[in-house]
């Protein structure tokens, strides 16, 4: 048996989901074949039952792809004796009953959960639950998922869920619902609360635009602060203080060289303890003297004592760079970003931001709500690409996905950019992010002009502001962070492995010469930079380690950062996009990516000095 959680968007389904599946159960973000929905498990009378959080839908007559998925899942569920928990926003009974009646008509076992029950009190709504249960003929349980109230009763009464064909004339559905409302609900006048007033202020242009600027500026400063603090106080000390000595020891055990050593540990660096600088051009390394000290023969200074060490960015071993890049360079920002994003999502701010930018987004062939997949894309393009499903037309999804893949840098790419040009400060960072923003806007305008059709108007519900619920937020944060680790770490390790194989087989030199006209001629980069571009198909963050030893100028690093971000998303995003857009559209998108990356990279190479 399975349980489907269905209901209108924003009625608290995910909080109920969190409550049902509990803290000791691993709920995973499950990317299915057709859609990303959330799956978890709960125990009911010693039975392990799958609980599925279905995307929110207003109606079983779908108007968007996300709704289609919900309808499709319902169809599948009907075949087995599955249960639908229809979660209803008690403060919006009339609108929500529309879906309830449609569900009942499907003849599936239903139990109605009147969520947000606590909010009915301060909104002056009274609902006669007994009466509603009588009329609908299925169990109705009031809950307040945030405090957990009513959840026990909901679980208790799950077995009572039943199919009850509530007969009504389709033409008269709203009259029918009106009748039910008349009999079960009484509304007294409500007073506007502080959150209501804040809601209005943040959606009116005169007050909303300044609020948006403050919110976004604050969000990015907090992300940076949290990310930097995590690195400085947790990840750097762990890697430098604990992991590095271990790896140096491990290196000695492996014999300080050889194929296995180079794959696991990577390149060793020698630090001259007398002149206190790294030794370039090591010719021969001698025997270990004591600890990690060694005598090395250099090309210039003869034999000198040196300390053997590892550079986590440049060594390119699986246990060194392969772990350091995803864990110590990207993860802290992923965590900080998703913390803030989850907060913005749960508070209800994002749709308001969508309304404010709606006008602007129409110039790019999109509407305001597409700001949500774009924001998600800043974390990782994969969930961002999936979120384009909220957009109604194929054209919009194509534009949004292409723009995101090209000009929205994910956290791994942002980490790469910071790693490459961060040392130059604003002088290095501004050209990179500025160029990406300009490309985002221009490409959107071009696609809007060239692609047939027009962008549909915004059409959305604006949820009331709510205080994010800590437990649901932290669970979501954990799932996303874990999702990153699961997706990213294997790819980084694979990338590092391939780099090593390529270098030992001299493949890079060969391809470098092959692509020299483009890489050197158009982009003004050394041939060896082609290695970063090849591995960039897998992951962008590894490129830091590959470009750092080349000693590039600031201009070259800026060009490399922009081109690496633009020319291709990464293999994981690519796979999702193929699934979402289809092979033909994805080929089109890929062509746009490569052409625009070369054009922009070439232009930067010409313009900058």
């Amino acid at each position: 048996m399975k349980i489907l959680l269905m209901g209108n968007p924003n009625v608290g389904k995910s909080v109920i989901f969190s409550r049902l599946t509990g803290a000791h159960v691993i709920a995973s973000n499950y990317p299915g074949t057709t859609v990303e929905f959330t799956k978890g498990h709960m125990r009911l009378r010693r039975e392990r039952i799958e609980v599925i959080d279905v995307p929110g839908t207003y109606t079983l007559k779908p108007t968007s792809k996300a709704e289609e998925v919900a309808v499709e899942m319902l169809r599948e569920a009907k075949e087995n004796s599955n249960i639908v928990i229809n979660i209803v926003d008690a403060t919006n009974l009339e609108r929500n009953l529309n879906l309830t009646l449609q569900l009942l008509k499907e003849g599936i076992k239903v139990i109605v959960c009147l969520n947000l029950w606590d909010e009915t009190k301060h909104t002056g709504i009274e609902i006669d639950v007994k009466k509603l249960e009588e009329i609908l003929g299925v169990p109705v349980v009031p809950t307040c998922a945030i405090s957990g109230e009513g959840i026990a009763e909901l679980i208790d009464r799950l077995p009572e869920a039943k199919a009850n064909t509530y007969e009504y004339d389709e033409e008269e559905r709203w009259t029918e619902i009106g009748g039910i409302i008349e009999e079960t609900q009484r509304v007294t006048h409500r007073h506007h609360t502080f959150l209501d007033r804040l809601g209005d202020a943040s959606i009116r242009p005169a007050t909303g635009i300044p609020i948006a600027l403050v919110v976004l500026a604050a969000t990015f400063s907090i992300i940076r602060f949290i990310g930097e603090s995590l690195i400085a106080y947790i990840f750097e000390p762990i890697f430098e203080g604990l992991w590095k000595p271990l790896m140096v020891k491990f290196s000695t055990i492996l014999g300080s060289g050889g194929f296995i050593h180079d794959i696991l540990i990577g390149k060793l660096f020698f630090f001259n303890t007398e002149s206190e600088e790294f030794i370039k051009g090591v010719v021969v390394t001698g025997k270990m003297v004591a600890g990690n000290m060694v005598m090395v023969k250099t090309a210039t200074d003869g034999v000198v004592p040196a300390r053997v060490t590892i550079d986590f960015v440049q060594s390119m071993g699986l246990f060194t760079t392969g772990l350091f890049v995803p864990l110590a360079m990207v993860l802290p920002y992923i965590f900080a970003f998703y913390l803030m994003l989850s907060f913005l999502e749960d508070s209800g701010y994002l749709p308001r931001l969508g309304v404010l930018v709606d006008n602007f987004m129409h110039r790019l062939g999109l509407h305001g709500l597409s700001i949500i997949p774009m924001m998600l894309g800043l974390g990782c393009n994969v969930p961002g690409a999936l979120a384009t499903r909220v957009l109604e037309t194929k054209r919009e999804r194509f534009i949004a996905a292409t723009l995101m893949a090209i000009a929205i840098p994910c956290m791994a790419q942002i980490a790469m950019v910071f790693g490459l040009v961060g040392k130059f400060g604003v002088r290095g960072l501004a050209p990179v992010f500025g160029t990406l923003f300009v490309v985002w806007v221009l490409l959107g305008i071009v696609m809007d002009r060239l692609l047939p059709g027009e962008s549909p108007e915004i059409f959305t519900e604006i949820p009331p502001y709510r205080i994010p619920y800590f437990k649901a937020l932290s669970k979501k944060l954990w799932m996303r962070t874990y999702g990153f680790l699961r997706e990213a770490v294997p790819y980084v390790l694979l990338g590092v492995f391939i780099v090593n194989v390529f270098y030992s087989l001299h493949v890079i030199e060969f391809i470098g010469r092959l692509f020299s006209p483009i890489v050197r001629g158009v982009l003004g980069l050394p041939n060896e930079a082609v290695a970063a571009l090849i591995i960039g198909f897998l992951r962008k963050d590894i490129a830091i380690g590959m470009l750092s030893p080349l000693g590039l100028t600031m201009k070259q690093l800026i060009v490399a950062s922009v081109v690496l971000t633009m020319y291709f998303p990464c293999v994981a995003t690519f796979a999702v996009l193929v699934r979402e857009l289809g092979v033909k559209d994805m080929l089109k998108a890929t062509l746009i990516m490569i052409v625009s990356a070369l054009l922009v990279g070439g232009a930067l190479n010409l313009i900058m000095r």
């Binding site: 609108r95 242009p205 909303g208 309304v355 709606d358 915004i458 604006i462």
Partner: protein, 77 residues
């Protein structure tokens, strides 16, 4: 009592929806959010350059495009 459309209605004004000029598709999309004939509606905001309109219907706040809002005829109360 003035008859206007939702796009030209003043910020903060309240009224009742008298007519939705449009096909079944538009009516259906609007009705699932509660915007249908006879519903009480309050305009929350409009944006310059034919930007989106937000309005409150019952306990729901909706944002719809200017073009759609123009097709919602409202009797201002």
């Amino acid at each position: 009592m003035a008859i206007v459309n939702l796009a030209s209605m003043g910020q903060g004004e309240e009224g009742r929806v008298v007519r939705i000029e449009g096909g079944l598709g538009l009516r259906r999309r609007l009705e699932v959010l509660g915007v249908r004939e006879g519903a009480k509606i309050e305009k929350v905001s409009g944006h310059f350059m034919r930007g989106p309109i937000t309005a409150r219907v019952g306990n729901t706040e909706v944002a719809i495009g200017w073009g759609m809002a123009k097709r919602v005829t409202v009797e201002v109360l």
